[in-house]
């Protein structure tokens, strides 16, 4: 069955405590090549049938309104897996 991937990241201006914690851990462990880490979410939505334009439109709405919080996050991509 087709899978649609939605990716959500914290907005650039917004504090990302999770990314900050990971970045700190990497530095402490000696990985010093990275100047910053941000941590977001990746959703995989399995579609029951073929991926129609209607479904893609629905995914867009779902991504904006349910999978992300527009106040603090951006939807950075919506793609079909393997497509």
């Amino acid at each position: 069955m087709p899978i649609i991937v939605v990716e959500v990241m914290p907005k650039a201006e917004i504090l990302d405590p999770q990314g900050k914690a990971v970045a700190g851990a990497l530095t402490r462990l000696g990985y010093t090549d990275f100047s910053g880490v941000r941590m977001g979410k990746r959703f995989e939505l399995t579609v029951d049938g073929p991926v129609t334009p209607e479904i893609l439109a629905a995914v867009k709405v779902v991504a904006d309104e349910i999978l992300s919080n527009a106040v603090i996050e951006d939807v950075v991509s919506i793609t079909e897996l393997g497509a």
Binding site: E13, L15, D16, P17, N69, V71, I72
Partner: protein, 763 residues
């Protein structure tokens, strides 16, 4: 590095006619003119940023100041006895004995919590906790006072789950027990929920710290999280104006909280205090660096030089003005002696906290801020932080109030049969405001720290301060917006009395008060009247009870469109108990104890939960209050606690005796057999009033049969009305609440109806 060209003092002198966006920053034309007069020139954009945030309603208290003065004026010698730090500091501090002190304060985060409920509420907890740290105390507990729109409104679940999730996330992650709060639903809060948070801290007397920058040459150090672009305009735009008026900002108005950073900051600060490395300290909340620098300077020797480029930034594109206004969370500013700076930096490094030295204390009387060598701010700090505008806003008695007060609930139809009464009891138990709040409180940790002697659903939260002696404090908060709508003076006093009573039933002695005054727009004369009445009521009430207001918070502009919320002054009362082992829980745990009702019942149903839930009615006058009776009741309960005469004590408030009985049987599943005849006969009321009246100064207690004579003797000796109204009955599956001659309800049924309401809407 910032590419923005700073507006320097020199530039401001050279370009006196430059137009400045003061209105967009929330300043009125006359306020802008006042700033120009103070400076003798136009402000630089940095100065404008500072004045605009510091002169906002939220930071300057410009509409409320003239009323709040009463809290400092209506005081007796006794009220000052235990007060180590009063109004005006980050939080009040009370001497609780044995060399210990307690500091506490309640604050609002209403507007941010509507826009982004999770982060708004989370950062609300973070902010109030930093106030407590800045007094030199270890935070030991939090509470949350919440008011939401109608439970069945489509937007309410978003707000409830966000707010509760945010408080749970931040408070639990910080390791602070949540020991109580309030949850109310009413459509007046639909577009403007109230999210108040309270924190309590504990310190040894010698650890007291204040926010002042003294000692010329001492270093000004900023530590904690980096400064970012979040929350800019939060102070002036979010808190000073209603949402629809909020202008566009390019920076996000919301802030994201990092409780982990704050937890580390707490431990770091406590270690700094322990080692004596800090002379003065201030948390960064609303108005960020603007507030911290100007308040520290104004409260100290008056002068300070700050090099703004030293501020560690999360976002290198921030302008100087934005750095001054940023409300990034989890930051503190300390004043450190130069000789102790290395030791200070070592502690901060141990905790992996980022730090930078911004400048030092001077004797110039001026707060001077440089940005890359250019002077962008040169002000008298007290004109920013202390001597802001003060308004005597127009006040007008609301014309609708006479009609509302005339519309008493006493004429509403009453139940005529036991069966009808039973149904009403169940409806009240299941109503959103009286239903079980476990759906919320199960998300809060109260075990952490191992000192929680009482917490929800007990009437007060109680924390052990000293593990050896058992010394502790109790705290409860209350507010009844419906009563305040009917009469804000009486309503504020009723809130005070209920919180006072809730502390007293726990066995503690009430000693101090904090408050968070949530109101509509101060520019509405009717709201201003409500505010004036409520503050007067509270100040007069505190004077009569002889317990001081030690600090608090005012939140104006709480309205949806033109519709202000009910006036909602949240009142918190702190009490002391010598040994928490003598705490009194609010429900009975065993069979065969006697149940007594203390106090008289009058036919007082106006504004009650019964009128609201059964008849959708609000009108009339709130219950009569006699604070000297409340004091008698409190001292009676303390006597009983010292002699361990009562097994449980639960105050009667919303929903009256019926709700108190329901809560008492549900708690540990121990039923009760109760009779109303004696109340009805003695007090001349009917069964409806006996069950649902919200008369004040009443408490339900359970007493071991062995202590019966002594307990009744105690009440009689103090001339306090007491009636035996029942006995506790069997526990387990067969447990019932049997109100004799009226109805019988299985405890399981009460529990089910009470428990199902919140999960149904939010689960």
């Amino acid at each position: 590095m910032s590419t923005h060209v700073a507006d320097t003092v020199e530039n401001a002198i050279a370009t006196p006619d430059k137009e400045q966006p003061y209105a967009a920053l929330g300043l009125k034309p006359d306020e802008y003119a006042q700033i120009r007069e103070i400076l003798g020139r136009r402000p630089t954009s940095g100065e404008l940023a500072m004045y605009s945030v510091m002169w906002s309603e939220h930071c300057s208290y410009k509409s409320s100041k003239m009323y709040l003065r009463q809290f400092g004026q209506k005081v007796t010698a006794k009220m000052k006895e235990k007060l180590m730090v009063g109004m005006g500091e980050n939080a009040g501090v009370v001497d609780v004995g044995e060399g210990w002190a307690v500091t506490f304060k309640v604050e609002s985060h209403n507007h941010p919590s509507y826009i982004e409920p999770f982060q708004g509420a989370a950062t609300g907890v973070g902010g109030i906790v930093r106030d407590i740290i800045s007094m030199g105390a270890r935070p030991v507990a939090i509470m949350d006072q919440l008011r939401f729109g109608a439970i069945d409104h489509p937007d309410t679940a978003r707000v409830v789950n966000g707010v509760v999730g945010g408080i749970s996330f931040y408070g639990n992650c910080l390791g602070l027990p949540n020991i109580g709060g309030e949850t109310y639903f009413d459509s007046v809060y639909q577009g403007n929920p109230l999210v108040n948070a309270l924190s309590v801290g504990v310190l040894r007397h010698e650890d007291l710290h204040l926010a002042n920058a003294s000692g010329v040459g001492n270093k000004i150090v900023l530590f904690g999280a980096r400064t970012g672009g979040d929350g800019i305009g939060g102070a002036s735009i979010l808190a000073s104006d209603s949402f629809d008026a909020a202008g566009p900002t390019k920076r996000p108005a919301v802030q994201v909280g990092d409780p982990f950073a704050e937890k580390v900051l707490i431990e770091c600060c406590l270690e700094l205090y322990r080692l004596g490395l800090v002379e003065g300290i201030q948390d960064l909340g609303a108005a960020g660096i603007s507030c911290a620098t100007s308040e520290l300077a104004a409260n100290g020797d008056g002068g300070m030089i700050v090099h703004l480029e030293e501020v560690l930034l999360r976002d290198p594109t921030l302008t100087a003005e934005e750095i001054l206004m940023s409300e990034s969370q989890e930051r503190m500013m300390a004043v450190v002696e130069p000789g102790k700076l290395d030791a200070f930096l070592a502690v901060v490094a141990k905790w992996d906290v980022e730090t930078s030295v911004l400048g030092e204390v001077t004797d110039t009387g001026r707060l001077i801020i440089h940005h890359f060598g250019e002077e962008i701010v040169n002000v008298d700090p007290s004109t920013v932080a202390v001597d802001g505008p003060v308004y005597e806003r127009p006040v007008a008695y609301p014309l609708w109030l006479d009609k509302l007060q005339a519309d008493s609930a006493s004429g509403l139809p009453r139940a005529t049969t036991g069966e009808e009464l039973r149904e009403q009891v169940i409806r009240l138990v299941a109503s959103p405001n009286l239903a079980d709040k476990s759906f919320i409180t199960d998300q809060y940790d109260y075990f952490v720290m191992g000192n929680t002697a009482l917490s929800f659903p007990d009437d007060a939260g109680m924390i052990r301060v000293d593990e050896e002696s058992g010394l502790g404090f109790a705290i409860a908060t209350d507010a009844n917006g419906r009563y305040c709508q009917l009469d804000p003076y009486a309503g504020a006093q009723l809130a005070l009395a209920e919180a006072f009573r809730n502390v007293a039933v726990s066995g503690a002695v009430p000693v101090a008060v904090t408050d968070c005054l949530n109101f509509g727009s101060p520019e509405n004369p009717e709201v201003m009247w409500q505010f004036k009445q409520a503050v007067e009521g509270l100040a007069d009430g505190c004077l009569e009870l002889e317990i001081p207001v030690t600090g608090g918070n005012v939140s104006f502009y709480n309205q949806t469109g033109d519709q202000p919320i009910f006036p909602t002054p949240v009142v918190g009362v702190l009490g002391i108990i010598d040994d928490v082992a003598r705490r009194i829980p609010s429900a009975w745990q065993d069979e065969g104890n006697n149940i007594y009702l203390l106090g008289y019942t009058r036919d007082e149903l106006d504004g009650s939960a019964w009128a609201g839930t059964i008849h959708d009615h609000l009108g009339g006058l709130p219950p009569v209050l006699d604070l000297s009776t409340e004091m008698d009741l409190a001292s009676l309960l303390q006597g009983a606690a010292i002699e361990s005469l009562v097994l449980s004590a639960h105050d009667l408030s919303d929903g009256g005796l019926a709700q108190a009985l329901a809560e008492s049987v549900m708690r540990f599943g121990v039923g009760a057999r109760v009779w109303l005849n004696d109340i009805i006969e003695r007090d001349g009321v009917d069964a409806t009033a006996a069950l649902f009246s919200e008369s004040t100064a009443r408490v339900l207690v359970s007493v071991d049969r062995e202590d019966d004579v002594r307990f009744v003797g105690l009440c009689n000796a103090r001339n306090y009305p007491v009636l035996r109204i029942g006995v506790t009955d069997q526990r387990g599956d067969e447990a019932v609440l049997d109100v004799q001659g009226q109805f019988v309800i299985p405890v399981s049924e009460i529990r089910e109806r009470s428990n199902e309401t919140l999960p149904k809407y939010f689960g």
